[in-house]
């Protein structure tokens, strides 16, 4: 492996600033890796020419002493972010051939910060999935395999292409979006760091909408320090998104410290779920011990409505999705399948354009919003959602952060958990509750299971307190010393 591919953003930025390497060199190394690992299917659209042009522009700015915070850093952009003049598909057939004429706010922020665009990363269709197996552009394969077994594993989802690209050292970082765990769960599955900030921290403008009261953008990186640096570039108020908050973006990166002395960390007892492998339970305990050894106080806490979070989510998210996806009617953009009249044209276009999981969720959403069921399902779910948010508010009066596993299982084989949608939904049991409450969370790679696969620990914090979340994550990262590469990555390219 080219040694440039092993660098963190922080390390690469230092070497770029010292002119030991050029942005062009760094980008070329990653473009080679992109080609070598094309079989992972991490990218839907590769943009090598744009990447080189952007890298050369970065070299120019570095030469003139005008480097921005992420100058010359090659990243992958989840194909849910609209990118001007680059196809944006949301992993759906209905957007095949769609080329935005505008740029999402968050991607524009990253280009302004000097990032180099390697391409658009694969994802579950409309970000609906936990294994990256629902994309119209094919499933993504994780760069990880079980020790002594070559069976292809899922990278998690929905930001599975981003996760695979960062884990396989194709991209130094990538963007994700997280509605119920779509950044944190794939980060855990691929041994990288993934962070969802507080709802309202990043603008949703120009990000293809799934469930608007839940969707948030966030960074996927290989270190906690890189996550702080990248989130800082992504976040900020945007007058084009009424739910983006007019709060100053703190200097998370500058203030980042692994000091957890005096912090109270809660262990929510309801996160001990049935059938969770013992090694995840053990890793969770080890994480608590690391933090205790570093000077934090560990407290058992209760979030009594935890078990209702997933069913609540699977009313609210599909309801919002059915409304958001109503725009795909084949008239102004996207796939149109002509039929005998207007209604049949809508119906044929949407039947041909949406895959099975998206159709399922749109149908569920339509049902729970329909006359006679609205109160029983949708309003009921909104009420339970308040109960879940209140659980967190009560606990955060007593503790500064929570420590949980990120996912209830290790990565599984492509094709597993496909027969039963509910079994797939259970992947997000630990990430969905905080999403419903809009709280910041991060997944940190913390160890390997018995088969040599990465497992993540999740840190959750108070609204707008990303700093504590990052600090606790850094303490975990230092204690865990996770340095294992996906198997086989040492050989090519």
């Amino acid at each position: 492996m080219n040694e440039l591919l092993g660098l963190s953003i922080t390390q690469a930025a230092a070497r770029l600033a010292a002119r030991e390497i050029s942005a062009r060199e760094l980008t070329l190394a990653h473009l080679d890796a992109m080609e070598a690992y094309r079989s992972l299917n991490a990218f839907i659209t590769e943009t090598p020419e744009r990447a080189l042009a952007m890298a050369e522009a970065s070299d120019g700015r570095i030469g003139r002493g005008e480097a921005a915070s992420l100058e010359g850093i090659p990243i992958g952009m989840k194909d849910l972010y609209c990118t001007a003049d680059i196809p944006t598909t949301a992993g759906s057939r209905i957007l095949a051939g769609f080329v935005p004429t505008y740029e999402s706010t968050v991607s524009a922020n990253l280009w302004d910060a000097g990032c180099v665009c390697l391409g658009k990363t694969n994802l579950d269709e409309f970000a609906m999935g936990s294994a990256n197996v629902t994309s119209h552009h094919g499933h993504v394969t994780s760069p990880w395999t079980r020790a002594g077994d070559n069976a292809a594993l899922v990278p998690g989802g929905s930001s599975g292409g981003s996760a695979a690209a960062v884990a396989a050292r194709i991209a130094m970082a990538a963007t994700g979006t997280d509605t119920g765990g779509s950044i944190r769960q794939p980060a855990a599955f691929t041994g990288i760091v993934g962070m969802k900030p507080t709802y309202g921290r990043c603008s949703r403008w120009g990000i293809v909408a799934f469930a608007s009261s839940l969707d948030q953008a966030g960074p996927m990186t290989r270190t906690v320090a890189d996550a702080a640096l990248m989130l800082q570039a992504m976040a900020g108020f945007d007058s084009k998104d009424m739910t983006s908050a007019d709060h100053e973006v703190p200097d998370w990166s500058g203030l980042l410290k692994a000091d957890v002395r005096g912090l109270r960390i809660g262990i929510p007892k309801e996160y001990r779920v049935d059938a969770m492998p013992e090694e995840i339970e053990r890793l969770w305990q080890r994480g608590a011990e690391w933090l205790r050894a570093a000077g934090a106080e560990l407290v058992e806490v209760s979030l009594p409505h935890t078990r209702y979070a997933l069913p609540t989510y699977y009313i609210i998210a599909p309801a919002e999705a059915s409304s958001n996806l109503a725009r795909y009617d084949g008239m102004r953009f996207g796939l149109r399948e002509e039929a005998e009249d207007l209604t049949r044209t809508y119906m044929r276009s949407r039947a041909e354009g949406f895959g099975a999981e998206v159709q399922r969720r749109v149908l569920i959403g339509t049902y729970v919003l329909s006359a006679g069921y609205y109160d029983a399902y949708y309003v009921k779910a909104q009420k339970v959602r308040r109960r879940i948010a209140e659980d967190f508010s009560a606990v955060f009066e007593r503790v500064d952060a929570l420590l949980t596993p990120t996912a209830p299982s290790a990565p599984f084989r492509i094709g597993e958990k496909m027969d039963d949608p509910v079994a797939m939904y259970l992947n997000d049991v630990f990430t969905v509750p905080s999403s419903l409450a809009g709280l910041p969370g991060i997944s940190v790679p913390a160890g390997l299971d018995g088969q040599g696969l990465p497992l993540g620990l999740q840190v959750l914090g108070r609204a707008w307190d990303e700093q504590t979340v990052l600090d606790v994550a850094l303490a975990l990262e230092e204690a865990a010393g996770f340095a294992t590469l996906p198997y086989g990555l040492g050989e090519a390219p």
């Binding site: 505008y102 399922r360 149908l363």
Partner: protein, 95 residues
């Protein structure tokens, strides 16, 4: 709550998705399974609980009511399946 194939057909019509007759029974089973799982929410006491519509108390900012964007006809039409003379072309809407 178990859905039958005719209910699936009605929801599909509302959602404007063409679900062929042959797939309605399978979908009825799948959706019933999901809805059955969701129904455990009935156990939660939500009397006197206000529905949560937005997680953050975000103040709605005010701005002057002036257009600050527009004149983008080409951009708006750029991805249309069919256009004519600067307009979208759509199937007949009014009989």
């Amino acid at each position: 709550m178990a859905l039958d194939p005719s209910t699936v057909a009605r929801i599909a019509e509302l959602a404007r998705i063409d679900v062929p007759e042959g797939e309605r029974s399978r979908l009825a089973l799948e959706l019933s399974h999901i809805l059955g799982w969701i129904e455990q929410l009935g156990e939660v006491d939500t009397d006197d609980v206000e529905p949560l519509r937005s997680v953050m108390a975000i103040e709605r900012p005010w701005r002057p009511d002036v257009a600050d964007d527009g004149e983008r006809r080409e951009d708006v039409l750029a991805n249309a399946p069919k256009t004519h003379d600067g307009c979208f072309v759509v199937p007949r809407v009014i009989e």
